[in-house]
């Protein structure tokens, strides 16, 4: 019998396939470019993955709920501006780290008010907010870069505890917290029942509105945390910040086996999807493909996964119906 969709960490076929793809891509790129397997390049891939790991975690929850947020890139931009100003105002780095998730949670709440309270389809509501937030970033930056930011946050996140960088620990803790919430608290079944069919969830007594608002706030907080990581890595904020984040996050999450239709998710899949996406982008860059091609590759990957997957899941449904007879 097919098991419940709540088996997030059980390594299934999807996760093994992704792991295989990561290894295969690594082999191909290390043959193609002598720089790929250097320690420096591995560090680059890890560093480039951190924001997407966090934003992708939030996107996993949204997609599992049958929702989406296409404004997360610019949301990260706004949160990054807040973090940057906190650093410029000489706020302690540990507090500056928290400014990101707090700003993100606030913006997530605003998104929730529009999408959940305003009863606007998530894709349209967040697209509208994308426009509004973009103007916000422009107004706040005034066309200038916020650069030469203090190094305090950078030092904090690269400091190590028992040899593990704090940045890696924070990401690990975020995944663990979300896993516990999904697997060990009512939030998990509630979220997935909404993703499966919102009306049925409501009839069953699931507090649908509350769960939907909470999920936008959690996703906002995780994307805001990504903003703190961004500021720590780059120590500047510019107009184009986060312009490919939503695309990258949706691609990585869907690649990871979370259903775009809702009702199913894999946290391990998301993490592996992020790593695979970043390795592909990095490897292509090393092979001399201009970085402008990255969104093309990501977009093509997203479309191919969906195109290949939907007929398969339909086939699965048909098979299931057949078995019932």
């Amino acid at each position: 019998m097919r098991q419940s969709s709540l088996r997030f960490v059980a390594i299934g076929g999807r996760e093994w396939a992704l792991l295989g793809a990561v290894i295969l891509a690594s082999i191909v790129f290390s043959v193609a470019s002598p720089y790929f397997v250097t320690a420096g390049n591995a560090g680059t891939i890890v560093r480039n993955s951190t924001e997407l790991m966090l934003a992708g975690l939030g996107m996993t929850l949204l997609l599992a709920m049958g929702s989406i947020d296409v404004s997360i890139g610019i949301l990260m931009g706004l949160a990054a501006i807040a973090v940057a100003h906190a650093l410029l105002a000489s706020v302690a780095p540990a507090l500056a780290l928290l400014v990101g998730p707090l700003t993100g949670a606030g913006l997530g709440l605003l998104t929730a008010l529009v999408v959940v309270r305003g009863r606007v389809p998530a894709i349209v509501g967040t697209l509208g907010l994308l426009g509004v937030y973009r103007m916000g970033v422009f107004a706040l930056l005034g066309g200038q870069w916020l650069s030469g930011l203090p190094a305090g946050l950078t030092e904090l996140l690269s400091s190590t505890i028992l040899g593990i960088p704090l940045s890696v620990l924070v990401i690990g803790l975020a995944y663990l917290a979300v896993w516990l919430a999904l697997r060990r608290t009512p939030y998990g079944p509630h979220l997935l029942s909404i993703g499966n069919a919102e009306e049925k969830a409501r009839l069953s007594g699931v507090p649908v509105t509350k769960v939907r608002i909470a999920t936008f706030v959690i996703s906002g907080a995780l994307t805001g945390l990504a903003a703190s990581f961004y500021v720590a890595s780059y120590r500047n904020v510019e107009m184009a910040i986060g312009s490919t984040l939503a695309l990258d996050a949706i691609a990585a999450v869907v690649l990871g086996g979370t259903s775009i239709m809702g009702g199913r998710c894999s946290l391990l899949g998301t993490a592996l999807g992020v790593v695979l996406l970043r390795i592909l982008q990095n490897g292509l860059l090393l092979m001399g493909v201009p970085s402008l091609w990255q969104p093309v590759v990501t977009g093509a990957l997203l479309i191919s996964v969906l195109a290949l997957e939907l007929p398969v899941s339909r086939l699965g449904d048909m098979k299931e119906k057949w078995m019932q007879r």
Binding site: M1, R2, Q3, S4, S5, L6, R184, T185, P186, P189, H190, L192, S193, G195, N196, A197, E199, K200, A201, L203, S204, G205, V206, P207, G263, R264, E320, Q324, R325
Partner: protein, 257 residues
């Protein structure tokens, strides 16, 4: 005389200019299976939605065990002991049996303010209920999407029992089932009544109704047109009441014109 579990008096439901239900009086007793019959649009679905708390009535009163109640949501109805098994079975196919049975009312234990699920306790409870119903489902962790139609009905009934429901409303429970599965669900229905539950059953299948119901109520054009005990009627009479060919219904409809 004992108080019925639920008494509906003068229930009327208007949707704008349309009156979907007019002045319905009905008593429902514990331990009996009451069938609601009627053509499409006769008002039976509207009536059970009012009982289930999905729509508020426009007029009229509901008494549960003699006390007036007002339902503004299915949750209110559930807290009065009324559980509804909708035709489309409000089950989440992607969740397990035990997650479905407890969905929206999970057993929790608070650790540092975080509501952790008591998964083992929930699994054991569901295992017990499945046994009691003799549902032939061995693994409460199986996804509901992998179950047959009849097994899903059993899960929905478990959900109702787990609510300590005293009135279970079943909307077309056998509509999409094969013969053997229909048998099983009718057995489950009788077993529910045997436990002292009141069961309200909506069905178009007269044979099923005669097999399982103690009492039948016929709706037509938003009114209750007849009420019969099973031993006092025949399938032919019920059909003529539904279609309006019965003299009583004709007389009634003449008067209301």
């Amino acid at each position: 005389m004992t108080v019925p579990f639920l008494r509906a008096t003068g229930i009327t439901k208007r949707f704008g200019a349309l009156t979907a239900l007019r002045d319905v009086d009905l008593d429902i007793n514990g331990g009996e299976v009451l069938a609601l019959l009627g053509d499409n649009g006769a008002g039976k679905s509207t009536f059970i939605k009012i009982l289930a708390g999905a729509h508020p009535q426009s007029d009229g009163e509901l008494l549960v065990e003699g006390q007036p109640v007002e339902f503004s949501s299915p949750k209110d109805a559930a807290s009065s002991g009324i559980a509804t098994i909708f035709q489309e079975l409000a089950l989440s196919e992607n969740l397990s049996i035990s997650e479905n049975v407890f969905l929206g009312r999970e057993l929790k234990r608070s650790v540092l303010g975080i509501p952790f699920l008591r998964r083992k306790a929930m699994r054991e409870r569901v295992d017990g209920l499945l046994h009691e119903l003799d549902a032939h489902i061995s693994d409460p962790e199986a996804a509901v999407g992998s179950l047959s139609g009849g097994q899903r009905q059993a899960v929905a009934i478990c959900r109702a029992l787990n609510l300590n429901a005293k009135l279970v409303i079943m909307d077309e429970p056998t509509a999409a089932l094969a013969v053997a599965e229909t048998r099983k669900v009718l057995e489950l229905t009788r077993r529910l009544a045997g436990r002292g539950c009141a069961v309200v059953l909506i069905s178009h299948n007269i044979a099923d109704v005669f097999e399982v119901a103690d009492r039948m109520v016929v709706f037509r054009r938003g009114r209750k047109v007849a009420e019969r005990r099973k031993e006092d009627t025949t399938p032919e009479e019920i059909v003529s009441l539904i279609t309006g060919a019965h003299p009583d219904v004709r007389a009634l409809e003449q008067n209301n014109r």
